[in-house]
């Protein structure tokens, strides 16, 4: 039977389309030219050096980092109990609860950012940082719940019953038996959440102010004025950072099966 080549050709083209541009960025990052021209006529590390000097990038990198870590932690702290409650208890209105908790994903992130700016920051008189934290945490919460729920679904109820029969109360059962066995799912949720927050643009777009801005937003602003490969270098660094981060957690905790 002759198998058609069409599917694999389409796959090849799709992959090229998806990954090709990254290669372009990667090469541009090492350009020795003064401006953005492709292919570069020479190679150098000048743009990487430049990245490290731009103050806006440094400050916003720090902001993005703490925002990512904090919102991930909050999302997990609130999301894990939710996943457990929905998995182990018959809650009346579980569907409604799920919809409410997933709403941050359905609402356009841009709208969320604007709403938080207008009512929370401007009218409610809270700080922009607080607004950013709320926005990011709300966005990460559904991911946390979803991934941890999948993990819990794979864990048999029996071992919790066994722990009970051996004398463990609910709290002991959760920390000694349930948590160790969903460790991978929690880690996967954490990684997914952090990366989502770090790369987030729409929510952060409106929630920018003096001294408070996330890295992607600063990159966007920079691109409005300057047209050189600095962004290429920064993008390359960020992509490498993401890949390393995922590989590291994969190596330490084996999370690939949860994605």
């Amino acid at each position: 039977m002759r198998e058609s080549r069409f599917p694999i050709v389409m796959l090849g083209m799709a992959l090229l389309f998806l990954v090709g541009p990254f290669v372009v960025v990667f090469i541009s990052a090492f350009s020795g030219d003064r401006t953005l021209a492709f292919p570069p006529s020479s190679f150098s590390l000048q743009w990487f050096a430049k990245v490290l000097t731009v103050e806006a990038f440094q400050a916003s990198f720090v902001t993005s980092m703490w925002l990512g870590v904090l919102s991930t932690l909050l999302a997990l702290l609130m999301g894990i109990p939710v996943a457990y409650a929905l998995a182990r208890y018959q809650v009346p209105g579980a569907e409604v609860i799920r919809v409410i908790l997933t709403s941050p994903l359905i609402l356009p992130a841009l709208v969320v950012g604007l709403a938080l700016l207008r009512y929370f920051v401007l009218i409610g008189n809270n700080s922009i940082s607080f607004g950013l934290l709320i926005g990011h945490t709300a966005l990460l919460l559904p991911y946390a719940v979803r991934v941890v729920s999948a993990s819990l679904a794979n864990l048999s109820r029996d071992i919790e019953d066994a722990a009970h029969s051996l004398g463990a109360n609910r709290l002991q059962t959760f920390f000694r038996v349930v948590l160790p066995n969903i460790r991978g799912g929690v880690a996967a949720a954490g990684v997914l959440a952090f990366i989502t927050s770090f790369n987030q643009v729409p929510v952060s777009l409106f929630l920018t102010g003096p001294g408070v801005s996330t890295l992607p937003i600063q990159m966007l602003l920079y691109m409005e004025y300057t047209y050189d490969p600095t962004i290429a270098a920064l993008s390359t660094l960020l992509i490498l950072f993401s890949i390393l981060f995922v590989l590291l957690t994969e190596r330490l905790l084996g999370i690939s099966k949860y994605v």
Binding site: D158, A162, S165, N181
Partner: protein, 334 residues
């Protein structure tokens, strides 16, 4: 059932949702040191009953008493009852040693005593060398033994086992059956054993409780339940394959027509082939090694007979005479 019962269930009604009860008005008493089997087809309520005794399910009505104490509403982790699951339910992230030690750690047993008791339990089930292994590194039979050790190391007042051997292959099942009996006798633990396999119940139990649709159909020693079934359901469950309404069969075999009974039944081994007042045609002849099973067609229904190979000279399509001895009949109500 009396006040000296070690475990006593009174008027127990159990349900999972607001709908129909899975178990209704159950009365059961178990003496200390007894091994009682809850036997029945799936859906009969035996596992539900066990979960209620363990405290994993709150009864809708009725009470559960253990050693004189009312434990009906006591939380599962305070009942001191050991549980062995069909799926073993070993903690995947803990070693064999830690699995068995879990209950002792919950009871804050001291380090030395804990190690001593865990190793002793592992020796009892023959797994002392496997203490450091994780459950994933053990075979089914080994996991089952760890689950057992984990349950009895805490010296529970009662041990509940839910079809613990059903996931093992036939040979291993027979070996584990003997092991279980031995350990139960040795430790003198009161055991409640849930199963759907009548052979297993007959081999293990001091008493068998046959359940159906949430109620007890019959209760008694293995001999009683095997040789003297009281209802059609019990009879068929215990292998009395030839079951007929009493009115159809009474005259033909010389049994009184009523006296309160509705059906009569014979075991296949009790059917006499070759002579007798009844006539039948051979529908099927199945060779079984030591014996031959005949399926006969007769005026009042099909008859299954099992005879020794030497006596099995008839073949499919042939007609023969046979008899259903009145003295070997079980008279059944319902």
């Amino acid at each position: 059932m009396n006040m000296s019962d070690f475990l006593s269930l009174e008027n127990l009604t159990l349900a999972y949702t607001k709908g129909t009860a899975v178990v209704e008005g159950l009365h059961l008493g178990v003496a200390e040191g007894e091994l009682v089997s809850l036997l029945g087809p799936s859906g009969c309520g035996k596992t539900t009953t066990m979960r209620a005794i363990a405290g994993l399910l709150v009864p809708r009505a009725g009470t559960v008493h253990l050693a004189g104490q009312d434990i009906t509403h006591l939380p599962a982790n305070k009942r001191d009852i050991g549980l062995v699951f069909q799926s073993y339910a070993l903690f995947p992230h803990l070693s064999t040693f830690e699995n068995v030690a879990f209950g002792l750690r919950m009871r804050r047993v001291g380090k030395d005593e804990l190690a001593h008791r865990v190793m002793e339990a592992l020796r009892t089930v023959g797994l002392a060398d496997f203490a450091e292994r994780l459950p994933a590194q053990l075979s089914g039979g080994q996991q089952q033994r760890v689950a057992l050790a984990r349950a009895f190391v805490i010296r529970p007042r009662l041990l509940l086992l839910d079809e613990p051997l059903s996931n093992l292959d036939a040979k291993l099942r027979l070996e584990m059956r003997a092991e279980l009996r031995r350990i139960q006798r040795e430790l003198g633990i009161t055991m409640l054993y849930v199963t759907h396999d009548q052979g297993e119940a007959l081999a293990l139990s001091d008493r068998i409780v046959i359940m159906r649709l949430g109620k007890i159909e019959q209760m008694g020693t293995p001999e009683e339940v095997y040789a003297k079934p009281k209802t059609s359901f019990v009879a068929q469950f215990m292998g009395w394959d030839n079951l007929y309404p009493l009115e159809t069969i009474a005259g033909v075999v010389g049994l009184p027509a009523s006296a309160g009974y509705t059906h009569a039944s014979w075991r296949p081994e009790a059917v006499l082939i070759g002579s007798g007042n009844l006539q039948g045609r051979v529908l099927a002849r199945t060779y079984q090694g030591q014996s031959v099973e005949y399926l006969l067609e007769s005026p009042f229904g099909s008859v299954k007979a099992v005879v020794a190979v030497e006596q099995a000279q008839w073949h499919e399509g042939q007609t023969l005479n046979f008899a259903l001895p009145a003295e070997k009949a079980a008279l059944l109500k319902g």
